[in-house]
């Protein structure tokens, strides 16, 4: 077991691609994407993407070592400022095959 930072992000699906790129470039070791049924925040309600992805969200879960967190947070923040969405960071312990 190893201490890591747990990062979860909710972002508009149209911008998922950009966030994934940023995270990949920031070197997160892995990533899990899940669907969002609905949600709301400052910019109003989001749907489940019935007609198009225009108003739907994605949920991303990733981890990083504590010392990498500032760089990753700095990389994500501008995207959240531009597009809205949410990033939650918490402490966790990791069990992995590596």
């Amino acid at each position: 077991m190893r201490d890591v930072k747990r990062i979860e992000i909710v972002i508009d699906k149209p911008h998922e691609h950009e966030v994934l790129n940023v995270l990949r470039e920031a070197g997160v070791p892995g990533l899990t994407v899940m669907d969002v049924v609905s949600g709301y925040g400052d910019r109003g309600a989001r749907d489940g993407g019935e007609l198009s992805d225009a108003m739907s969200n994605r949920y991303l879960l990733t981890t990083c070592d504590a010392d990498r967190l500032p760089a990753i947070a700095a990389a994500i923040e501008p995207l959240l400022l531009r597009y809205g969405g949410l990033c939650l960071i918490s402490d966790a312990q990791l069990i992995r095959n590596t």
């Binding site: 508009d12 149209p14 309600a45 489940g48 007609l51 198009s52 108003m55 597009y83």
Partner: protein
Amino acid sequence: MDLLLSPPILFFFLGALATLVRSDLEVPKPVARLLSLYLLMAIGLYGGYKLSVGGLTGEALAVMGVSILASFLMPVVTYAVLRLKLGNDDAAAIAAAFGSISAVTFITAVAFLQESGVEYSGYMVASMALMESPAIISGVLLARIAASGGKPDAGGRLAGIGGLDWRELGREALLNGAVIVLVGSMAIGYVTGEKGWAAVSPLMDEPFKGVLCLFLLDMGLIAAKRLGDLKRAGVFLLAFGVVGAVAQGMVGVAVAWLLGLDHGDALLLAILFGSASYIAVPAALRLALPAANPSLYLPLALAVTFPFNIIVGIPMYNAILRAISATPGT
């Protein structure tokens, strides 16, 4: 009255009713996606097949050309009108949605024609496909030019378009899933012609109206859910959703008259001009105009203009076109 009493429209009402009485009825997202994929493929294949039979006549090319032009130019006018009350990005986004088309409205009009036994041409489907994207580009350019204050930029090029990533904009406008399926299916219908259509029509032709019922049930559910968003939209925007749409539709009527189109084609042109996109354009605008508020342009097209068109617009344009063609001397 015929249209109002057709199953697809009644299922739209049923869906809206279910939402309004807070029923737990829902059509799962993947099903909605399947249904709209089906409808786009079906109309695309049929249009392509009809085009392969009818050929690319002069009339076909004229209508298609005018359609592209309209999709590109109508947003300039509507943008100017919308700027009276709205910010730059929101005005441009709504102008783009209304310059583009609603495939489902078109398909509902096609079902209306079929029930009335009126023919229409394959190139009208092509016109629909061609009208999807230009309005997006037009809207983005308007927003850019206006934002730059109209001053030519460093390179001396047209104001605000300097830093524009044309490649990316083209991708967002042209490679949207709905556009790809529609254009691709048309091409496949065109290439495989009579034989191809015979192979796919048991899925793509006969069950078509039944699928439209299912999809409009869901559209009713979804559109009614978006009614709440309209509270923030204000009376000006609500009025635009009807009056602006009708104004564009009447441009379509006029163009159809000038081109001497048959009744079926004329009705479809009016509906293309007068309908607004709530699937392809919003999806593209989230990327191309991220500063515009989707909670304005999407509900307007979906919960105002769409119901208006399928309930009032189609029979109204139908009556107007009948009246015009009955007028002696035309």
